[in-house]
Symmetry: C2
C-alpha cells in the first residue's frame, strides 16, 4: 500500500531507500521556482475553485504551472478542470501530470483510481507516503509555479507539505462569515507553528448580486476576511464575489475564466495571479 | 499527549489499560440508545449546521441528546450553540458535556482548549486516541441520541467512529452541485466498506429565494441529492433551502429554530428529527 502507484522505483533497490527518495524529492522540487499551498480552516469555502482559477490565470499569463491535489478524500481538481482518465508513465518510469493546456498540468489521486466513486480510506501515515510520491514519482519538470490544493483544516496533508516543501508559501481562503473566520485563525496559527510563510488571505464568496433584480444579498456577509487579515498581520490578496456560474462551470469542468473573462470573479483572480507573477518577472 | 484531557484515569493503573478502556467505552455507549454520525464528502455543505439543528429539534421533541464534535481541526459546534468556556470534571473525574439546555449537551475539542485560535496539529493516531477519550472520559449518561459531527471526507475521524461505535448510523449531507455529489458517493461507499448503516441523505443549501424580489436563485442547483440517493439506493431524508439567517444565527450562536420557528428550514429539520424520533417512540 505504501507504493501506491505501483511504479518500478530504482531507489527502492539501493541501500538506503529513504535517503535516495529524499534526494529525488529535493531534485524534483529544485526545478520549481515557487510553491504555494492553498489552505482553508473550514471546508466549502472555494479552496479548489481558487487553486484551479489562480493556476489558469497564471498559465494564461505565460507561466508554467502545475497543480498538485493533495485532498485525498475529496479530490475535485480533475473534475473542475474537465479532465478524465488516468495518469501515464513516461520512459523514466515517472508519472506525467495530465495536461490541461501546454502551460498547465495536474496530478490528483482521482487520476490514479479507476472507480471515481470509491472512497480513499487511509489513515495519516499512508497519506504522508502518498503525498511524497506525488513529488518523487511525478515528472513535474521545470515550473514557475506549483499550486498545491489541500483539504480543509490543519491535519496530515498540510503538515506533510510543510515538512517536505520548506519554501512553500500559504494562500489562505476564507468566506466572510464568523464561523469560517474562526477556523482561518487556526490556519494562520498553524502556518506560524510550522514556520510556513503566509503569502496572504483571499475572501471568497464575498457578496451575491441577485441575477433577477440586481440587489445585493448578504449571504455570508462581506469584509470579514480583510478585517481578519489586518488583525492577524497578514496580506489581504483580494475579494471574490459569489457567481452562480462558477458552480455551473466547476460542475461541468468548463473554464469559468474562458467563458466569463470579463466577470468580476475573473478580474479578481487575474489580479491575485499578477501579484504571484510579480515574484517571477521582476 | 495521548492523555489529552489530563484526567486521572483509574484504568491506566490496572494491568491491561486498553482492555479496561474498551470496557469503559462499551459501558458508556450501552447507555445511549441511538448513535448518528453526520458526514459529508465535501466540506462547507452545512454538516455542523445540520448536526446542531437536528439535535435541537430532537431535544425540543423531548429526547435526551448529546452532540459529540469530532471535527478536531474545525470544531464549530460550540460557536454555533453559543457556548463558551471549558468542560468541567465531575466527582467521578469524568468530563461533563456543556449544557445547552436540560435535554442537550455537547462535547468538543474547542471546549478543551484555552486559546480558541490555536490550531490542532495532530496526525492520525493521536486523533484516534482523542476520539476514544470523547467517549471513555465523558459522562454522557443515559441518552436517546448521540449526534456525532464529523469533519468532511473519509479520513481518520469517521473511520475511528466506525470502528469504535459499531451501531452508529450515518446521515450524509450534501449540497446539490455535482462536485459535492461526486464526493458524497465516496462517503456512501465508505460506509459500505466499513459496514456502517446509512440512515439517509439530506440535501442542504437547496435553492435560494432572493429576499428582495422573491425570485428563485439557482446557486448550487437543486434535486441532485434526491437523485443521488435514489441511484445509490439509500433513503432521502429531505431538502433544506438556503436561508441567509442560518449563517447569521450560526455566527452569533443564536438558535435559528427559536428565532425562525416557522421558516421552511426549521420545518425541514423538524421533519427529519421526527423520522429519527420514530425509532425511539414506536
Amino acid at each position: 500500500m505504501a507504493e501506491i502507484f505501483g511504479s518500478v522505483d530504482a531507489a527502492q533497490k539501493k541501500n538506503d531507500p529513504q535517503a535516495e527518495r529524499d534526494a529525488i524529492i529535493k531534485s524534483s522540487l529544485s526545478k520549481i521556482k515557487h510553491k504555494f499551498i492553498v489552505m482553508s480552516g473550514k471546508g466549502g469555502v472555494g479552496k479548489t475553485s481558487t487553486s484551479v482559477n489562480l493556476s489558469i490565470a497564471l498559465a494564461n499569463q505565460g507561466f508554467k504551472v502545475g497543480i498538485m491535489d493533495v485532498d485525498l478524500h475529496g479530490p475535485d481538481v480533475p473534475r473542475m478542470l474537465g479532465m478524465q482518465g488516468l495518469l501515464d508513465l513516461n520512459q523514466n518510469k515517472k508519472l506525467t501530470p495530465m495536461a490541461y493546456s501546454p502551460n498547465l498540468g495536474a496530478v490528483s489521486i482521482e487520476s490514479l483510481t479507476t472507480n471515481k466513486d470509491d472512497a480513499i480510506i487511509w489513515r495519516g501515515p499512508i497519506k504522508y507516503s502518498a503525498i511524497q510520491q506525488f513529488v518523487a514519482d511525478v515528472e513535474w519538470g521545470d515550473l514557475d509555479f506549483l499550486v498545491i490544493d489541500s483539504p480543509p483544516g490543519t491535519g496530515d496533508e498540510p503538515l506533510t507539505i510543510a515538512q517536505m516543501i520548506s519554501d512553500a508559501r500559504a494562500i489562505i481562503v476564507t468566506t466572510p462569515q464568523e464561523v469560517s473566520l474562526a477556523d482561518v485563525r487556526k490556519s494562520i496559527n498553524f502556518c506560524r507553528t510550522v514556520k510556513m510563510e503566509i503569502f496572504g488571505l483571499i475572501e471568497n464568496m464575498s457578496g451575491l448580486t441577485c441575477p433577477h433584480c440586481g440587489e445585493s444579498i448578504e449571504l455570508f456577509g462581506s469584509g470579514g476576511g480583510e478585517r481578519t487579515a489586518k488583525s492577524m498581520g497578514i496580506d489581504f490578496l483580494g475579494r471574490i464575489p459569489i457567481d452562480p456560474n462558477m458552480v455551473k462551470c466547476g460542475d461541468a469542468g468548463i473554464s469559468f475564466q474562458e467563458q466569463h473573462a470579463d466577470s468580476p470573479v475573473s478580474l479578481a483572480f487575474n489580479d491575485i495571479a499578477k501579484k504571484m507573477g510579480a515574484m517571477v518577472k521582476p
